[in-house]
């Protein structure tokens, strides 16, 4: 198993659990690619979990998501995936580093 969460992980020296970076799903758009789940197939980090009824995707392991990576967003045929603003996240990371 590789999906267990590892809270000791850091990104740029900041506890990963303090960085709110993961995909947000627009459920008005997501249709689970009619059962194909392109994002699920694409992402090797086991961030996603497929739901069956109705077919759509769910974020199961948000902290497995690679900070600043938005590759799955481009794979989505429905344009249903979005991410936070990188500049805001970077600001947060710098602030966290400053307080250590």
């Amino acid at each position: 198993m590789t999906t267990e969460s590892k809270p000791e992980k850091t990104f740029m020296g900041v506890d990963r659990l303090k960085i709110p970076w993961w995909p947000r799903i627009d459920y008005d758009k997501c249709n689970g690619c009619d059962g194909e789940y392109d994002c699920l197939k694409f992402c090797p980090h086991r961030v996603y979990k497929p739901l069956d009824d109705p077919k759509r995707i769910e974020v199961e392991n948000p902290y497995n998501c690679v900070v600043f990576c938005k590759a799955c967003q481009k794979m989505c045929p429905q344009d249903a995936i979005s991410f936070p603003e990188k500049s805001e996240i970077l600001k947060l990371i710098k602030a966290e580093r400053g307080t250590r």
């Binding site: 590789t2 090797p44 600043f68 990576c69 938005k70 590759a71 990188k86 970077l90």
Partner: protein, 280 residues
């Protein structure tokens, strides 16, 4: 007797700092295999210094409870170090000679213990080649990290060259993506922020974004990658570089990892990612 790297904190303003230095001098005079480390050289990552640290058994002499010397050695990738805080083992009423002798005995004991420990199989130690590359063996994979470069947690490197910064992919990244057949870099003149996408890499296994390790203006592409994208796999730190930037904020380099720090980070990742592949 294994080769030993002894790092005294040598901080004269600390209670035991001067003692650590005297102990180092005394032991070095009677043990040719002993290397006395320099905290200053380690801090600036002088190649020979880091090589000595990573290729030897390491004993650290901390002069006080702040343990600066231990923290420094660990930040440069040292593993399984034996630390001795001298103030814990000496009495203020002892003479200087008694203090030095007491700590010398402790160091000799630590070296004997490490020699016994090393007979048991342990995690491979990092080594450094003459070309300034730190390497670590992870199962069947050899991981390389180039000294003097800065590394992002997204596995890209940045190298300062005059007033510009050269950017490339780390050895870990190229090994994880496997055979690269296409590299696309954003247009010359484009400004990208740290963390922004600056292009993409496609391989037989996956497609990844190039996530810029620093903010700046892209001023040059590695044109050779158009016809030979495999250079990223073959020579990630030299011929396979990706693009040059005019940086917007050099202080961002402080947010990145040094070679020693990245090797530690990358080794853990490699154990998870590459080791998994090796055992599948």
């Amino acid at each position: 007797m294994p080769k030993v790297y002894l790092l005294p904190c040598a901080g004269y303003d600390r209670p035991g700092g001067a003692i650590t230095r005297m102990v180092a001098e005394k032991l070095a005079s009677s043990n040719k295999e002993m290397i006395i480390g320099s905290a200053a050289s380690l801090s600036t990552e002088r190649p020979g210094e880091v090589r000595d640290l990573l290729s030897s058994k390491t004993v650290i002499l901390d002069g006080c409870s702040l343990h600066c010397a231990t923290k420094l050695a660990e930040s440069k990738g040292a593993k399984s170090v034996k630390s001795i805080e001298v103030t814990e083992h000496i009495a203020s009423s002892d003479s200087e000679e008694q203090k030095v002798d007491a700590i010398c005995l402790l160091v000799e004991e630590a070296i004997r213990e490490m020699a016994v420990d090393s007979k048991e199989p342990t995690r491979p130690r990092a080594e450094i080649s003459d070309s300034g590359e730190l390497t670590a063996q992870i199962d069947k994979f050899k991981l390389r990290v180039r000294e003097g470069y800065y590394y992002s947690d997204n596995d890209f490197w940045a190298k300062v060259e005059g007033d510009k910064i050269r950017v490339g992919a780390s050895d870990l990244l190229q090994q994880m993506t496997s055979d690269i057949y296409y590299v696309e870099i954003d247009a010359i003149g484009k400004t990208v922020e740290l963390g922004d996408e600056a292009g993409r890499i496609e391989s037989t296994k996956t497609a990844i974004e190039i996530i810029s390790p620093v903010s700046g203006v892209i001023v040059e592409h590695n044109e050779r990658l158009v016809d030979s994208p495999e250079l990223v796999n073959e020579s990630p730190y030299d011929e396979g570089w990706l693009y040059m930037m005019e940086p917007l904020d050099l202080s961002e380099l402080d947010l990145l990892k040094t070679a020693g720090e990245y090797l530690e980070h990358a080794s853990e990742r490699a154990h998870e990612e590459l080791g998994k592949k090796a055992t599948e």
